[in-house]
């Protein structure tokens, strides 16, 4: 019985088709071709390194006013060799504050998206997999949450609670899970009908196992893309809140509350070193993350297989 298939076996893809083995390796090869995405990845990696090493790298303590030899505060100094990006109106080093603010922005992005994904994946998976009344219930709740205007809700809640970074993270996560949940539900509805899920069911696999081992790994691609794009949004929301004064509070630096200084006409007009760097940082970070998201979307789409 084993002779019948000899011709077929020798055709197995080896060498000629390429030895690219796993899915992730092929995805990385596609990702590499997207120069913007690579650029974005580089920027984010750099930011992560800066954030991790902030206390070592930053030239001054970001919380403390720098004083000159006469004991006076070096307020609003333009960029110089001592202060590469100058000092702010309280005499703190802008570059040091920028580096420390990067920590805040990145962690807000990561933590709030993690919260959003954990809630969203669980609820979306339940809704998509079990259907019927579970689905109706979860999706109606989702619809209600989607109806809230995000910024308004976040401002209200964060003024009611104490405006600090942890509340900001929690609120953003609790608002954005709906997007993850909807996407996960849709993907699960698609994957659920595939034969290999039926095969596992026929083998007697539990629902838990089917969701964990078969469904979730097969929706990782769109989930990753969604999570990346949400991270950029979360960073923007944090910046907006801090700019409005209901997010991260002084003296903790955040790109958003550093921008807040630009509400003063003098700063806006005559001290651009105080507000241009945080503004640019937000712009470049969000842009980079979005580039990565786009790159991932293409890289993880198996239909674009070359």
């Amino acid at each position: 019985m084993s002779q019948i298939n000899s011709t077929e076996i020798t055709k197995s893809p080896r060498g000629s088709v390429g030895i690219e083995r796993s899915f992730s390796k092929r995805a990385w090869n596609r990702f590499k071709k997207n120069k913007l995405a690579l650029f974005g990845l580089g920027v984010i990696l750099l930011l992560i390194i800066l954030a991790l090493c902030a206390p070592i790298i930053s030239p001054y303590n970001p919380f403390i006013t720098v004083r000159n030899e006469f004991g006076l505060a070096n307020t609003s100094q333009p960029p110089s060799s001592n202060h590469l990006l100058g000092t702010d109106n309280l005499g703190r080093d802008v570059l040091s504050r920028m580096i420390f603010a990067g920590r805040i922005s990145l962690s807000v992005g990561l933590v709030s998206v993690s919260i959003a994904c954990s809630i969203g994946v669980v609820l979306g998976a339940l809704a998509g997999y079990f259907g019927k009344w579970v689905d109706s219930l979860i999706m109606r709740v989702t619809d209600v949450v989607i109806c809230f205007p995000v910024l308004f809700l976040v401002i209200t809640v964060s003024t009611m609670l104490k405006p600090n970074i942890f509340n900001v993270m929690a609120i953003i996560g609790l608002v954005y899970w709906t997007r993850v949940a909807r996407m996960v539900r849709g993907e699960i509805l698609r994957v659920r009908e595939l034969d290999f899920i039926q095969a596992s069911r026929a083998l007697g696999a539990s629902d838990f196992r089917i969701i964990g081992r078969h469904v979730i790994p097969n929706i990782m691609a769109p989930l990753l893309v969604q999570a990346t794009l949400l991270t950029a949004q979360a960073i923007l929301i944090e910046a907006s809140l801090s700019f409005l004064g209901v997010g991260v509070q002084q003296p903790t630096p955040s790109w958003g509350n550093m921008l807040n200084a630009a509400t003063s006409i003098t700063v806006l007009g005559f001290r651009p070193w105080i507000w241009i760097p945080p503004g640019l940082a937000i712009l470049i970070t969000v842009l980079s993350i979005n580039f990565i998201g786009d790159g991932l979307r293409d890289a993880l789409d198996p239909k674009l297989e070359e």
Binding site: M1, S12, S22, A205, R213
Partner: protein
Amino acid sequence: MATEEVLLEVNNLKKYFPIKGGVFGRVVGNVKAVDGVSFYVNKAETLGLVGESGCGKTTTGKVVLRLEEATEGEILFEGRNILELGREEMRSLRREMQIIFQDPYSSLNPRMTVGNIIGEALEIHGLAKGKAKEKKVKELLETVGLTAHHMRRYPHEFSGGQRQRIGVARALAVDPKLIVCDEPVSALDVSIQAQVINLMEDLQKEFNLTYLFIAHDLGVVKHISDRIAVMYLGKIVELADKKALFKRPIHPYTQALLSAIPIPDPAIQREKIILKGDVPSPINPPSGCRFHTRCPYVMDICKTEEPEFVDWGDKHFAACHLEEGAPERDVL
């Protein structure tokens, strides 16, 4: 070889899919995919289930494995009605009955290695762990004509025929008695079809397997089956031994179906029965005999009364009002 001992018996099985409409999702109708089907499969035999697209063959197969819940009826596996089994009982019974799918591309999880795909079956039922599992997976791969080193690869690295072999290995992993083969070769090249069919026949002999073989390709079914059931619009119209069915089809639909098998010899001339019209909708099947809208021998009684599915002698079952069955015609 095939015995007379019944492994699977299906009685009056129905599967309706509700159609929901309106604002409140009221049930406005039913797609009667399977509408009162009865048949039995003996131990170690192959029952071929044939019919046009959409006649309910695949649904029947899935309901038998409880991948879809039956609306009504009885499914006896070794005498036990599996529709009455609880969750845990059903889980352990799943070892006994497996399925092979039509599409070799969607039937394997693209994110798992072949070793994990086949090994999962062993894990779920706690049949083997660690080294023993690996050994068993290697054995299975060799049984289906692949080699042990294939277990570290992903499904996309295989051809359609090889993937189908992996599907067969997964089904075999739990040592089943019954395998529902849902058009296992329809998606393959003709040359590969023969290889997979031969493999399945060899495995049947080796492991004493029973097949419920669903297909629309009569050539394949004729080759592999011991007995054949013909389905039309959710009902079985004829069920007989392969030889008897091909020799003397009783139901006019079976006759028409058989006349459509291509003969690879241009010199042979024979009559082809071309049916008029389309298959009616399973939402609103015709009254009486479901085939009456297209039957060349339709009588008045066919339009009002449903013919009974009875034994015409020698366990040749058919549902037709014609006294002598369809007139003999030289269709083969």
